[in-house]
């Protein structure tokens, strides 16, 4: 884990608000895949362009296909030119590309890992990467087991010469609690928990990180962040897209496992957690786990009452006809996979007693966006009642994407001689106040993993607690498949979802 004192570079002091990661070699398993091309390499290039990476860094792509370093670099350059948020500078790319190499091997070939170890030793000497290794599992999840096993057998799971070895695991972290436990056991057999980084890219988003600052750095909000003042919370993740090229995966997964188990429960945890004892990773993750443990289990008949699942039918998005889910390529024509979920979650602790959290996620909805809306309780209906004026409740909205920001709805008197009350919005946009582009989530997360900061990564117990909650819902669905509802593409989901929230006397927010 830690490095000897001699490896501290005194010239690094005071150069930035965050520590520069130590030189290291990043080994990407599944280096020819989509994630590497679309996200990882553009993120690495942007970090290099921003001066956030030490030049003494190496990137090794590990994959099955036969190709030379040159061809691999060329492919990555094309991808970076296409997907990078910054324009590629030829000279900088040349320098960055010199750090990239390709290692061909089957994932199940131990000899390939042994030769990788030799290669990494050579890179340590040539590029000064100090024996630090970061392994990124960007391959298909069914390959994780063999990769982890071979990393252990080849000794690559240990740092060299006082260096460290860490592993980044991409989601899905299993498909249910038993498989997540199995995967976690496998990871634990090769890397200690402290060196394991489970990526949930939602946590790398600037606004997700801002939730804690908003709550705990503003006395105004935290004092009211409880059941006494808050009526309910709505967490929404909507997208107009269908399954696109992910039908094979999605049809087995569904919205509950694809989005709720990880992203949305993480947002719920950040919204509901108690103030941590400090800003260190475990202090924050301890509080998130407490929230997950406080979730009222949804089991048996409760599921039908509190969880609505839907699947999109044909419809129109942006004026164009789109097919029903069951008519999409590579989808089972009789699929009962949910593309929409709305659920009412209760956090059974002192702070949130009686405050429902309504969570909804769906595909083929009219607008794309992810947000948390905190709805405050109404003022006592006495003062303005006689005037017949309705007073809207205050709503604090934290927009995760797009147009990241925060807005607060409050009531104001309309100018004029009569008393008319209208809702007005105080709006904070990241883009308006802070002109510079916010970095991509993968940039932040890669940098954190290189720097040894696991705060924005999911811990084992978080993942398992989330699965425990989600599995109970799925078990009920398995027992009763009659409750699948259908909604037209381009609508805001099934009418049953509206009924769900209506029981609480409210409606879903209009995004």
């Amino acid at each position: 884990m830690s490095n000897s004192v001699i490896q501290i570079n005194p010239l690094r002091e005071g150069l930035g608000n965050r520590a520069m990661p130590e030189p290291c070699t990043l080994v990407i398993f599944g280096a020819t895949g989509d994630l590497t091309h679309r996200k990882l390499v553009p993120a690495l290039y942007n970090l290099a362009a921003d001066g956030a990476l030490p030049p003494a860094i190496s990137v090794v792509g590990f994959a099955r296909r036969d190709k030379s370093d040159e061809i691999f670099r060329k492919e990555l350059e094309e991808a970076a030119r296409k997907y990078s948020r910054q324009t590629i500078n030829g000279e900088l790319w040349g320098s960055f590309a010199a750090s990239i190499s390709y290692h061909r091997s089957e994932f199940d070939d131990l000899a390939g890992y042994r030769s990788l170890a030799e290669r990494l030793d050579g890179l340590d000497a040539a590029r000064g990467t100090r024996g630090n290794r970061l392994f990124y599992l960007a391959a298909a999840p069914d390959q994780f087991e063999i990769i982890l096993e071979n990393l252990r057998k080849s000794g690559l799971n240990r740092g060299v010469n006082g260096g460290w070895a860490r592993v980044i695991v991409e989601k899905p972290f299993g498909t249910d609690l038993p498989s997540a436990r199995h995967l976690n056991d496998l990871v634990e057999g090769s890397f200690p928990e402290a060196d394991t980084y489970r990526i949930d890219h939602f946590l790398g988003k600037e606004t997700a990180q801002n939730i804690m600052v908003l709550r705990f750095a503003n006395a105004l909000f935290e004092a009211m962040w409880n059941a006494r003042y808050i009526d309910h919370v709505q967490i929404t993740a909507s997208e107009p897209l269908g399954v696109e090229g992910r039908a094979g995966y999605y049809d087995k997964s569904g919205a509950l496992r694809d989005m709720v188990q990880n992203h949305l429960l993480q947002l719920l945890c950040l919204t509901a957690m108690e103030p941590p004892t400090g800003l260190d990773a475990d202090a924050i993750r301890d509080e998130k786990v407490k929230v997950l443990r406080s979730l009222r289990p949804l089991e048996g008949k409760d599921v039908a009452r509190h969880v609505i699942r839907g699947q999109y039918g044909a419809g129109a998005i942006n004026g164009k006809r789109v097919a029903a889910y069951r008519d999409e390529a590579n989808v089972n024509p009789e699929s009962v996979t949910e593309t929409f979920v709305a659920l009412q979650v209760n956090v059974d602790n002192w702070r949130w007693a009686g405050v429902p959290f309504f969570v909804r996620v769906g595909k083929r909805l009219p607008k794309g966006g992810t947000e948390i809306a905190v709805h405050f309780k109404s003022v006592p209906p006495v003062l303005f009642k006689a005037t017949g004026e309705a007073v809207d409740d205050n709503v604090l909205v934290i927009r995760i994407q797009p147009d990241e920001g925060v807005s607060l709805r409050m009531s104001a008197k309309m100018p004029g001689s009569s008393l008319r009350i209208e809702p007005v919005k105080m709006d904070f946009h990241y883009g308006t106040s802070f002109g510079k582009a916010t970095p991509e989530a993968y940039e932040r997360l890669l940098l954190d993993a290189m720097s040894g900061d696991p705060t924005l990564f999911a811990r084992r117990d978080e993942v398992e607690e989330a699965w425990k909650f989600v599995d109970a819902i799925r078990d009920a669905w398995k027992a009763d498949s009659e409750d699948l509802t259908f909604y037209s593409s381009g609508s805001w989901g099934p009418a049953e979802a509206d009924e769900l929230i209506k029981r609480h006397g409210t409606t879903w927010r209009r995004l």
Partner: protein, 346 residues
């Protein structure tokens, strides 16, 4: 002088700004994160400052208060103008705007600087005061106590030692709470960053404590900047400045002597830093305003290693933007300055 905006009566500035926003269409949004006061006594600087404000307004929302003062003018007078700098936000049609209020203060009116600043601040926002003129005594205690960040550029000073002493005095008026922001130090950030990168290499890091020779080449008149870089190196490596037999050198913690040389060349800015010792020599070079540094590492443990490191830009707007975006204090600045203060002229 080309008028830097819409002329307004000083007493009506707030009202006129309000009218400006009321009359603009709904696509314009005013934004402000801080107050930036820019004070100059050079008439030709006003246009350049307006351009600078326009350039950085798209990256950093603020209320800019530009003040051109001529305390020596025979006739007294105060004039003001208002304007706005707008840019399109993201891919939408919404424009984000920063306000600019420009003042010209002549003769005795120049003494009303504190009042002009106090009465036109965007309330509750931090105050950054960039003085482009040299500091003079007596110091206005109340004005300086309001300043959160005092920006100046030691590269422009005729008497650096005396001016540094005055900035310390100003800082003491705020119990040390004011942050001193020397743009000359901000310009060094990329050099410090590049040097740190060079020594991230494990074999180079092993040589860091064995350096016995430092050579810095800089442009004529940039000795203060080069000295600050040298001061930073000495603090980070624990070297103490010594003066013996009319010779200056550093003494490392292991009592090894470290010789240094600052030479002036025709290049722009700092162009070359060489750090050497027994059997190794590391060079970091930057051609005039080039986008990249090029480092070469020669040492037995490093097989022919070169590095290309981003050098950023040296335009005034980039430096100011870097300073405004950075926030926080400059923890190493005071120490670096102290380390080489005996070498500073004036």
């Amino acid at each position: 002088m080309i008028e830097p905006g819409l002329p307004v009566e000083i007493g009506r500035i707030d009202k006129e700004l309000g009218r400006l926003w009321e009359s603009s269409d709904d696509t314009k949004t005013r934004a402000s994160l801080l107050n930036l006061v820019v004070y100059t006594e050079e008439p030709e600087a006003l246009a350049a400052n307006t351009e600078l404000i326009a350039a950085i307004a798209s990256q950093h929302a603020f209320r800019a208060i530009l003040i051109l003062a001529d305390p020596q003018a025979a006739t007294s007078g105060a004039r003001a103008w208002i304007s706005a700098h707008c840019h399109l936000a993201g891919k939408g049609s919404r424009q984000i705007c920063s306000e600019q209020i420009t003042f010209r203060l002549d003769g005795e009116s120049a003494a009303s600087l504190p009042n002009i600043v106090f009465s036109h601040l965007d309330s509750d926002l931090p105050l950054c005061f960039w003085s482009q003129a040299e500091f003079r005594e007596p110091l206005d205690e109340q004005l300086w106590s309001w300043v959160d960040r005092l920006i100046f550029d030691s590269a422009t000073w005729k008497s650096p030692a005396a001016q540094f002493a005055l900035t310390r005095k100003i800082q003491s008026l705020t119990d040390g709470n004011m942050v001193l922001c020397d743009l000359n130090w901000t310009r060094l950030h990329r050099w410090r960053f590049a040097l740190a990168n060079v020594f991230d290499h494990s074999a180079a890091l092993a040589c860091l404590r064995k350096i016995t020779r430092v050579r810095i080449e800089c442009a004529c008149g940039q000795r203060v900047k080069a000295s600050l870089l040298l001061g930073w190196l000495s603090v980070q490596l624990g070297w103490r400045l010594q003066h013996l037999l009319s010779k200056d050198f550093f003494l490392a913690p292991d009592d090894q002597q470290v010789a240094f040389e600052i030479s002036e060349t025709a290049a722009a800015g700092i162009s070359h830093v060489e750090l050497a010792g027994a059997g190794f020599c590391f060079n970091l070079r930057r051609a005039d305003n080039a986008e990249f540094f090029h480092a070469s590492l020669q040492s037995p443990g490093i097989p022919d290693c070169t590095m290309t490191i981003g050098a950023g830009y040296d335009r005034a707007s980039d430096i100011l933007l870097a300073e405004l975006s950075r926030g926080g204090r400059h923890p190493l600045y005071a120490g670096s300055l102290d380390a080489i203060s005996p070498l500073l002229p004036g």
